[in-house]
């Protein structure tokens, strides 16, 4: 959330001229098939002064739309009511969603703003993907699985889920299942994210301990292997050979004596 607020604060200054320009008359969100004009218009409302911020907002929009089934979108349509259109700057939309006063006082507005973002992602996914790919090609350092973006998206989705609850969707037989399913999905997404953090911490711990252990064992093995006295084996074999030779000589003498005795009969 810190990340989201810092982006919003930073971009508020950057996008102020854009806001002035896009104070367009309000109207209903287009519900017809994907329109290039609509997509281009909405996308022009994304930050365009900083390619990193633009990338982050595109990714945030993608993540926000996660888990929005047609049934769930029907619930949004039913309970959402916000003054938003293609010309509304994206920053205004997200600011409105994150506004704690608005969340408490007018959940239907929050729902409406979220519906606007989800609808945009649904209708203009291809353009969004294209923009994201272009930006990534332009700057290879941009991270696809940015945990901060994922965290912000989840926060906004939780606001949406709570707003729907506040608006009464969970008690509405037509929309209860979709909204509850969405809420359960958020829990599992939250679990996954927390597990990811846990895994990262364990990975670090594991790497640290395994490297340390490996180094220590290698050093210890080297020291102990030096204790091996390899000459002792050579000595033992020489000793055994000498004993064998000695015995053989005695046996040869004994055999000669036997032969002498036999021949001397």
């Amino acid at each position: 959330m810190k990340h989201l607020l810092s982006i919003i604060t930073g971009l508020a200054v950057l996008s102020a001229p854009a806001m002035a320009q896009t104070a367009a008359p309000s109207g209903d969100v287009a519900i017809v098939a994907p329109s290039q004009q609509y997509c281009v218009t909405v996308m022009s409302g994304f930050p365009n002064d900083d390619h990193v911020a633009r990338y982050q907002f595109f990714r945030l929009t993608q993540d926000i739309a996660e888990g929005a089934t047609p049934q769930f979108r029907a619930a949004l349509s039913q309970y959402g009511d916000a003054d938003v259109n293609a010309q509304t700057p994206i920053l205004d939309v997200i600011e409105a969603i994150a506004n704690p006063v608005l969340r408490q006082a007018a959940p239907e507005m929050v729902i409406g703003f979220m519906e606007h973002l989800i609808d945009f992602e649904d209708r203009c996914g291809v353009y969004l993907d294209g923009q994201i790919s272009s930006l990534k090609a332009y700057d290879g350092d941009l991270i696809w699985e940015d945990p901060l973006i994922a965290e912000d998206a989840l926060f906004l989705r939780q606001i949406l889920s709570e707003s729907l609850e506040r608006a009464g969707a969970s008690n509405d037989p037509s929309h209860a299942f979709a909204s509850q399913d969405y809420a359960a999905n958020l829990i599992s997404t939250r679990d996954n994210m927390e597990f990811q953090v846990f895994t990262t911490e364990i990975d670090d711990l594991e790497a640290l301990y395994m490297t340390d252990l490996d180094g220590r064992l290698a050093r210890s093995n080297d020291i102990i292997n030096k204790e091996m006295d390899r000459e002792s084996l050579d000595d033992a074999i020489t000793l055994a050979n000498d004993m064998d030779k000695d015995f053989k000589e005695k046996e040869d003498q004994r055999r000669l004596y036997t032969l002498w005795r036999i021949l001397g009969r």
């Binding site: 359960a184 679990d191 711990l205 252990l213 210890s220 292997n225 030096k226 091996m228 021949l263």
Partner: protein
């Protein structure tokens, strides 16, 4: 005729003492021929290893005499010669076995590790010591056996304790000869009829079965006491030396595919490839492994085949629960049958990740143990020793050949002399004599000539016989000389090897404890609470017995939900149950194993009030698992083909229905 008699007496004596064997072995083990190599088809959950390889690595000082005595007393595959037993030779052979087991086990480890996923094979060297009862036992020197594993493999390279039999047919691990003694166990839940035993060398099969049976008893006793953890069993070979109680299990010869039986691996003396052995310690070249082509590679395939036919979930569920219990006792019993609850799944995933960290950590230890022994000076010295032993054997083989030539010559000499005498000997034809006097002169000359020839022949026979006897003595003396000379070296090498393993374990253990404590802290910080927790309460089976223990979900002091139940019935049966229960009794999908004096059987399917009811998978010794219909605990016949069998493990990703049964 007196001379003929003498000659035959000599030849008999020569034949008795003079024929020498030359310590031969088979070039390729049965494990290399019996099955096609198959790829590993199983997967294990994180934190579960495929195999742990156990072997004797050290004998504690105060256990040495008991070990030598037991080793001498419980010889395998041979008969003692009439010569006086030499304690020093017995000790050298016994110490040599430990050194070779240490070394050749690493060949098996290398092959198994190469054929299985990373970190899925661990080494568990054992130290042989005296137990509290004064009997021999063995304990793991590392923590490898604290992790769940699909199978455990015991490996020992064996030598018959009589050094006088080294050149004979008795088992031997010396020079180019290796006699492996192996056993493969899984947990008995995955192989109920054989109590977990999957494969065993024929001479120790019954002892290994006894070990499996004791393991069952210990595990049930632990469950009855409310814990999943049981002590690690000693090596099967040590149990054999100890003459621990044996048991009978259905077995099959190697290469057969009868279900639910133990495969009996014949005692084999394997002769390694001399070409590989000749290059075993070539400077600058990579380390040559002569056992690979004759045994290790094929044995690793056998282990893979066994794992492929083992139900991984059943084989590891209890040991996994024991490992998880270290971090989270309230979760442990729930992991037996699993759950779809989000809080359970989240917590289980964390626990598995902890075990995975342990697994990787212990795997590093195994790899370093391998590297330290195999690639270090210890390995070089062992290979030098193998080379020296091989040279020694070759010399004795040459002596044996000479001895046999002498024996053959002596025998042929006897036969030729006998034949000559029987045909009237050599000399002139006296019938052509013109006078009586000439005839007598001729006869006298012939007799004199025959006497000389016979005397020379007998002298030759006696000499070659004596030489054969002398060569035999020389060969035996060479064995004795070698073993007595090399004994201090074996002791020194064992000391260094133990230092290495001990040092590895000390370093590993300190950091392992530290790692575990950090993992525990991380786990405690991150985990979410469980809605349903596992505890301990009463399990009544079919209601008649009240003394059972349930580890799992409880309500009103009785089993109610998922978990594990165990009890001993009044009729002597021991029953263990994994699945769902209501009011202390199995109810719903479950897996029940019943142990009686006659053996163990398993039933999987639906239970009502503690009794099998519905379509059940029945597993008995020597037969494929059968799908039977049951009503109120009584079989009513074969179930229709395709009848579904309820299983409590359907939420476990690694459960392979019917595998290993």
């Amino acid at each position: 005729m007196g001379r003929v008699k003498t000659a035959f007496l000599i030849s008999t004596a020569v034949l008795v003492t003079g024929c020498a064997t030359s310590a031969k072995g088979i070039s390729t083990s049965a494990v290399m021929k019996s099955t096609m190599a198959e790829p590993l088809r199983q997967e294990t959950p994180p934190g579960t290893v495929m195999a742990v390889l156990r072997y004797p690595a050290h004998v504690e000082d105060d256990a040495k005499q008991a070990y030598y005595d037991a080793y001498a007393k419980r010889g395998i595959g041979g008969k003692w010669s009439k010569d006086k037993r030499d304690a020093a030779e017995i000790q050298a052979l016994a110490d040599g076995m430990i050194i070779k087991s240490n070394y050749y086990a690493l060949s098996v480890y290398k092959e198994m590790a190469a054929k299985m996923p990373e970190h899925s094979v661990l080494l568990s060297p054992h130290t042989v010591k005296l137990g509290a009862n004064g009997k021999l036992t063995s304990e793991p020197m590392t923590q490898a056996e604290s992790l769940p594993s699909v199978v455990t493999v015991d490996f020992t390279s064996y030598s018959f304790p009589d050094a006088k039999k080294m050149m004979g047919k008795a088992p031997l691990t010396f020079g180019d000869l290796v006699t492996p003694l192996v056993t493969v166990h899984s947990d008995h839940r995955a192989a109920a009829p054989t109590q977990g035993l999957k494969l065993a060398s024929a001479p120790i099969l019954n002892t290994s079965a006894g070990s499996g049976r004791r393991g069952v008893g210990q595990s049930l006793a632990a469950l009855q006491n409310g814990t999943f953890e049981t002590s690690v069993p000693p090596l099967d070979f040590i149990s054999y030396l100890n003459a621990d109680s044996a048991a009978r299990v259905p077995s099959q010869s190697f290469g057969s595919m009868s279900p639910n039986t133990v495969t009996s691996y014949p005692l084999e003396k394997i002769q390694l490839d001399k070409k590989v052995l000749a290059k075993i310690n070539s400077k600058g070249a990579s380390v040559q492994d002569p056992l690979k082509a004759s045994f290790s590679s094929g044995f690793a395939n056998q282990v893979i085949g066994i794992i492929n036919r083992t139900d991984v979930n059943k084989a590891t569920m209890v040991s996994r629960a024991a490992a998880i219990a270290q971090y989270d006792p309230s979760l442990a019993a729930l992991t037996i049958v699993g759950s779809q609850d989000a809080d359970y799944l989240a917590r289980y995933r964390y626990a598995e990740r902890l075990l995975e960290a342990e697994q990787k950590y212990l795997s590093v230890q195994s790899l370093r143990l391998f590297d330290g022994v195999y690639n270090g000076e210890i390995g070089v010295q062992t290979r030098d020793m193998l080379k020296a032993e091989h040279d020694h054997l070759e010399e004795r083989r040459e002596l044996a050949r000479q001895q046999n030539v002498n024996t053959t010559m002596a025998v042929l000499g006897v036969l030729a002399t006998g034949a000559m005498i029987a045909n009237g000997g050599v000399g002139q034809d006296c019938s052509r004599s013109r006078t009586q006097r000439e005839y007598y002169e001729c006869q006298r000359r012939n007799q004199a000539a025959n006497k000389v020839i016979t005397d020379v022949a007998i002298a030759g026979i006696a000499y070659t016989g004596s030489k054969a006897y002398s060569l035999n003595k020389q060969s035996k003396m060479m064995g004795s000389n070698y073993l007595s000379s090399v004994a201090p070296v074996l002791e020194q090498q064992q000391t260094v090897q133990v230092n290495l393993i001990d040092s590895n374990e000390t370093i590993t253990a300190i950091r392992f404890e530290d790692l575990r404590s950090k993992l525990q802290t991380l786990y405690s910080q991150k985990q979410r609470s469980l809605d349903t927790v596992a505890t301990r309460c009463g399990y009544t089976h079919d209601g008649a017995v009240k003394s059972g223990t349930w580890l799992g979900v409880c309500e009103n002091g009785l089993a109610n939900g998922a978990g594990v139940g165990v009890l001993r019935a009044d009729d002597g049966r021991s029953i263990e149950y994994y699945g769902y229960a209501v009011n202390g009794q199995p109810q719903g999908a479950g897996y029940m194993i019943t142990h009686t004096a006659a053996g163990s059987t398993a039933l999987e399917g639906n239970f009502i009030a503690g009794r099998a009811d519905g379509t059940m998978r029945e597993t008995k010794a020597g037969k494929n698992a059968q799908v039977m219909s049951y009503s109120a605990g009584t079989p009513t016949g074969q179930a229709p083909v395709g009848s579904p069998v309820a299983t409590p493990f359907d939420k476990m990703p690694m459960s392979l229905s019917g595998a290993g049964n």
